[in-house]
Symmetry: C2
Subunit: 314 residues, 2 copies
């Protein structure tokens, strides 16, 4: 016991959350920073630990998409059979310094943001936002989805990486301070933050000595993707919470996440242990013709933004 | 009398304000759209009519800067003598479908936005925002200011024009609807609107077949200029108010502006007549070491945003 009581421990954890200073450093293939992705067939997923058979349809669909993207299979049936065989190791993003939106499925060749919490020196990772429509994070795995993932691997990721190398690392707190004054809450609403991110990056992207078509496509994608900043915010929130939970005392919740089957939390004083319960189905407005009957249980690591928010902004 | 009483006339004017639909069409040299600038030496200024001798220092300084920019003189003394000679005609921006920020000094070769109010078919014009620091609108006229004006004439204006030609005209109401939800009020605060403007224009700018350095400089300038949208908003507000004041009845104020000497208003039922009074010195926070003693009386056509706001948003 370093601290006299729970309140003191909690104050220490919260102080670390408030002092967190995430910087966006780079975008690289996931396998370059997450060693576990280099040992056989491995996928990361959102939420607490889970086996493939317990995964809900959208998460299984995302696994199949990732298998196709990685070239482990060349059709959906083979990819599904591979997943069902148990040959693919499944690891929670949270176990490897990462977070993933919705299904959270992350594979070796997907580009990830690298965020460093300069207060504590720890680094975290998150894939890039795919935009809206048919996307892997919701379980879509058709050619449109896989082709976009290839473009993100071959163009979007490398371009943002190059652009980040010719400017200062992006100070996330400064960007958040601007966007919070424009109404963002950084989970459901990242419209201002995504605009400020475009403003920060566009001058560097335009300067790059790369295929002009790639510049156009990247600028257009960033301009079209109102939630692009979410994934940067997720990695940033994770970086701050992981810095704070280096204090292994107290009762502050340091992670909240869902895998579509269970909701899991971590608590500072309980280290890496997961506490789980059944996950809820979101109550809310549905597109016309749909209701809660059609809904999937909640999933994704994006609740790290609220975990951070409760401690950091409260 | 088309309307039964003042209230009916006022309702008709306000209905036109509410129905206004400004679109940004192009950026061109002022003389291409304001014929008066083609007849001898002519400068436009903000506010109601005024003579050079009545202009306050910042506005005189801007006149001198414009004379240098137009090549009417090659040094400040000669430019001042020219202005004092009365050889340069001075016309209010408002008399030629234009508005100008602060001094509002507009000359033939300065690029102006063209905004069309598609509800009424009328067009209006405004110079582009120069950014912050030493700028003509506050009366600065040194080499840094004149060189920036030349760059705006040679690069910024033509680039935005080309970019606007390869996309749809910019629907200002749509942009305003987004930015108002991010806290802009479109006079003192245009930070979100300027970001959305960058987002709208950047993809087209990047596509242009022009000198790559010009693309970089334009994107950087837009990214750095938080108030860039103000001048588009001013032309837009003017376009809507000019559409509305085609109704020559009622008591709705259709223009408010200042020239540093007088504050002037126009009223729908009184057509082009100006009603003026002495202008105030702004009360507010000053940079440390300065007070109201150091302040200039209020100036500029930017109060067209409040004129529009009171009628349009209220």
């Amino acid at each position: 016991m370093v601290y006299a009581n729970i309140e003191e421990a909690n104050n220490a954890v919260v102080s670390k959350i408030i002092a967190g200073s995430p910087f966006l450093l780079d975008v690289v293939p996931a396998k370059e920073v997450i060693d576990e992705l280099n040992h056989g067939k491995v996928l990361l997923h959102a939420g607490p630990p889970i086996t493939y058979d317990k995964m809900i349809d959208p998460v299984q669909g995302a696994c199949i998409g990732a298998a196709l993207f990685e070239g482990w299979a060349d059709n959906e049936d083979d990819a599904r059979a591979l997943m069902e065989s148990g040959e693919v190791d499944l690891i929670p993003c949270h176990h490897v310094d990462a977070v993933g939106p919705m299904g959270g499925i992350t594979s070796a060749h997907m580009p990830v943001f690298i965020v460093e919490n300069r207060t504590d020196g720890n680094r975290t990772y998150c894939t890039m936002n795919e935009g809206i429509g048919a996307v892997l994070r919701f379980g879509a795995n058709g050619p449109e989805v896989i082709n976009r993932l290839r473009w993100m691997r071959d163009v979007l990721g490398p371009t943002l990486s190059l652009a980040l190398q010719i400017r200062e690392p992006l100070n996330v707190n400064v960007l958040v301070a601007k966007a919070i004054a424009m109404g963002d809450e950084f989970h459901q609403r990242n419209i201002a933050a995504s605009l400020v991110f475009l403003k920060e990056m566009a001058p560097s992207i335009v300067k790059l000595d790369i295929d002009p078509k790639d510049k156009e496509d990247v600028i257009q994608f960033l301009a079209d993707t109102d939630q692009f900043f979410l994934n940067i915010m997720m990695a940033s929130a994770k970086s701050v919470m992981d810095g704070a939970r280096q204090i292994h005392e107290g009762t502050i919740v340091t992670a909240m996440c869902r895998n579509g089957y269970e909701f899991g939390i971590r608590i500072a004083g309980m280290g890496d242990e997961w506490f789980t319960g059944p996950v809820n189905i979101p109550k809310g407005l549905y597109f016309s013709g749909f209701s809660e009957e059609d809904a999937s249980p909640d999933m994704g690591d994006s609740a790290i933004t609220e975990t951070f928010g409760v401690g950091g902004f409260a």
